[in-house]
Symmetry: C2
Subunit: 415 residues, 2 copies
């Protein structure tokens, strides 16, 4: 009896102790994931280390030097000489909004191509800028049909801009940016290009395309932390911004003001407080890209994509995008009949600390999106992903032979 009371008392004390512990706020330690979804992708440790360097002021002369270097490195990544090239201090969606609210005015017409989620978001941006969006729609998973765009341009010769997604993050589709930009220019329209998922993974040739406004993200093939959006504007676009009739509806994204800070010269006017540490990280990410070289980076993305595809094929898993339009950095994989989407993704996350992406919008439940972006585009990740998928699919009763997928990938590497 006494023993029971004692034991109850001890338990009570332990429980109080636990509650006290729980009341103390706790630091957060994330698990170590392998990120093979549609982004963020794995961040190179060199970039994480740059991120954690001591913060300095956003008007410190040393920081101004850093900004100049970032601008130059972004010009390298975008393959452009555009003076108006910089990172917006917010994620890719804000980069998109920067392009629309600066170039478009109430009453304008914009032709918007939609073949996935992000064309739809462009439409939202157009209408919220007080303009009219003429939609050119293609099936999700298909590249933009150039003929349809040609027709839309013919029917709307006074449209101010043609907006499209070069690398559709929701479908893994690459569209023909060179042709689309050329069509816009021939019709004297501005081109607005979303290449959030493209930059660093495939050819983004801003000057070659004569693109007018291009935005990207840091958390895809640049393998940097999410939160910044590199943008670049042609001289033609810069003139349009300077000569607007109405003020830009966003103060924060008004490039006429932002340029006072990101422009050239020693004197930089304070506009907003720059995200200093994130910019350290972006600088390191771009430095890594330059060390590797653009072409080598594209080739690496392509090779790992081929190896992954070969492995997936052994399991009967199909890439849903036709070969010519596939983004090597983002693979759209059909979910086999009878296999539960969420179960497999949880399996991968819980058993392998491996994240792959779910389908978005009309493709939800029908596809996985397997990213091989930036630092995450490497043979180890390809092998891990194949092994994990094989394991999970066999567990769910799919009749496939185990152990073959990795060999198929290896064969691609050993060619």
């Amino acid at each position: 009896m006494r023993c029971q009371v004692l034991s109850a008392l001890i338990n009570y004390c332990l429980s109080i102790n636990q509650r006290l512990k729980n009341e103390k706020p706790m630091s957060f330690y994330p698990p170590e994931r392998t990120l093979m979804g549609p982004g963020p992708s794995d961040v190179n440790p060199r970039i994480l280390s740059a991120l954690a360097r001591p913060t300095i002021g956003h008007l410190d002369p040393v920081f101004i030097q850093l900004m100049d270097e970032i601008k130059e490195l972004l010009q390298y990544a975008f393959q452009t000489k555009n003076e108006l090239t910089m990172p917006i201090s917010a994620p890719g969606s804000a980069g998109m909004e920067t392009c629309f609210v600066n170039l478009i005015e109430p009453g304008d017409t914009v032709i918007v191509c939609q073949n996935g989620v992000f064309g739809g978001r462009m439409k939202e941006n157009v209408t919220r800028s007080g303009a009219t969006a003429i939609m050119v729609e293609d099936e999700w998973g298909q590249a933009i049909d150039l003929n349809k765009v040609r027709d839309a341009i013919k029917s709307n010769p006074n449209a101010k801009a043609l907006a499209f997604v070069h690398a559709e993050t929701s479908t893994g589709v690459m569209s023909n940016a060179a042709e689309l930009c050329a069509m816009a220019r021939a019709a004297d329209m501005l081109s607005i290009v979303d290449t959030v998922t493209g930059l660093g993974g495939i050819d983004v040739d801003v000057d070659g395309w004569q693109a007018d406004a291009v935005y990207s993200g840091t958390q895809k093939c640049l393998s940097c932390v999410p939160g910044l959006s590199p943008v670049t504007f042609s001289e033609r676009a810069a003139k349009v911004i300077k000569n607007r009739k109405t003020p830009v509806q966003s103060w924060f994204l008004d490039l006429n003001l932002v340029m006072g800070y990101w422009g050239s010269g020693d004197k930089r006017a304070y506009h907003h407080t720059a995200p200093v540490n994130s910019l350290y990280a972006l600088h390191e990410a771009l430095t890594l890209l330059k060390e590797e070289g653009l072409k080598n980076s594209w080739a690496r993305h392509r090779l790992n994509h081929l190896a992954l595809s070969a492995g997936l094929a052994t399991m009967g898993l199909e890439l849903l995008v036709e070969e010519s339009a596939r983004l090597p950095q983002l693979n759209l994989v059909g979910i086999p009949e009878g296999i539960d989407d969420a179960t497999v993704r949880s399996d991968l996350l819980n058993q392998f600390d491996l994240e792959i992406g779910a389908g978005l919008g009309v493709l939800a439940g029908k596809v996985w999106r397997i990213g091989l972006m930036g630092y995450a585009s490497n043979p180890t990740n390809v092998r891990l992903c194949l092994a994990a998928l094989e394991n999970s699919l066999i567990k769910q009763g799919l009749a496939i032979a185990g152990g073959i997928a990795i060999s198929a990938a290896n064969a691609v590497y050993n060619k």
Copy 2:
């Protein structure tokens, strides 16, 4: 002769080598500054270390937990139960814009108090939202005159909101937020409060004030890296946002959409990619604040402010804001006759790696802004700043006795 040729050759090779080295892109290593300007402030090493933890996905279940914790910690910091409390994925200016574009519609009238730079920025936000700003102006360096505001409310009974700056970063002035919010509520207007520099350093009592929309920044008294803007909205404000007649002009900042991601429950809809690592840092910053306790943090800010003031007084340097309106975390110091602003600031930066702030707008060249914010609010920084200023002012010929300032500060600490 042969020796000269050899030497020339060697020099040539060395110079080529140097050029090759220079062409290799280089990582960026910032100097280690002490940040005593108007922000960013010194970041606690615990926060920098949290920042560099491995990135995980923005839809990872573990990340969703982190978001819930951040929300709770922000509610603690803001002293509110507001459900609609979260960090905006961009700097303080975007937090400001979030409040205006979500609450204000074209045709609305907003009473805006201006007693520094940021009231002017509020005006910009009002007009860019298609609304009319009724300005209530006070001298820069003065608190907002409540009588003027009362008159403006009387003259504009149909105004939708009263907007004001609680803690003016450009002048170091604190205004009476409790009274101003009460006046707004009595007149059935929404209150919009800028406390970018306030949160964590002085009492920000969102529920006590019955404030409707409050925004802050991470890089001031939270001592976190710049790039995020905590915001909180009352239920009344949330209803106004839900019942808008027109869509929010910004897609990125539309809280009706953002809430699908930051709302409660297990299912979070993707809106934009959250700045994952910056949110690790914010979580750690808020954890540190909770560990210390709000009141202890305010008391620490006040004590260091008193010590700094005592030291400055020995040099004849005056605080320009009257005592009752002084922000302890941001001290507006008049520049003595004959002393060159820029020379002193360069001196501090180059000799002591110490950053203090210049005057903004009408106060440029007339004042310094010395921040004692968050982690940077400590006795060592107070002493460093006093010693550095003393040294620089004596060098410039100001007739003051050296070595007294620190003793005066110490006397405050030893009380």
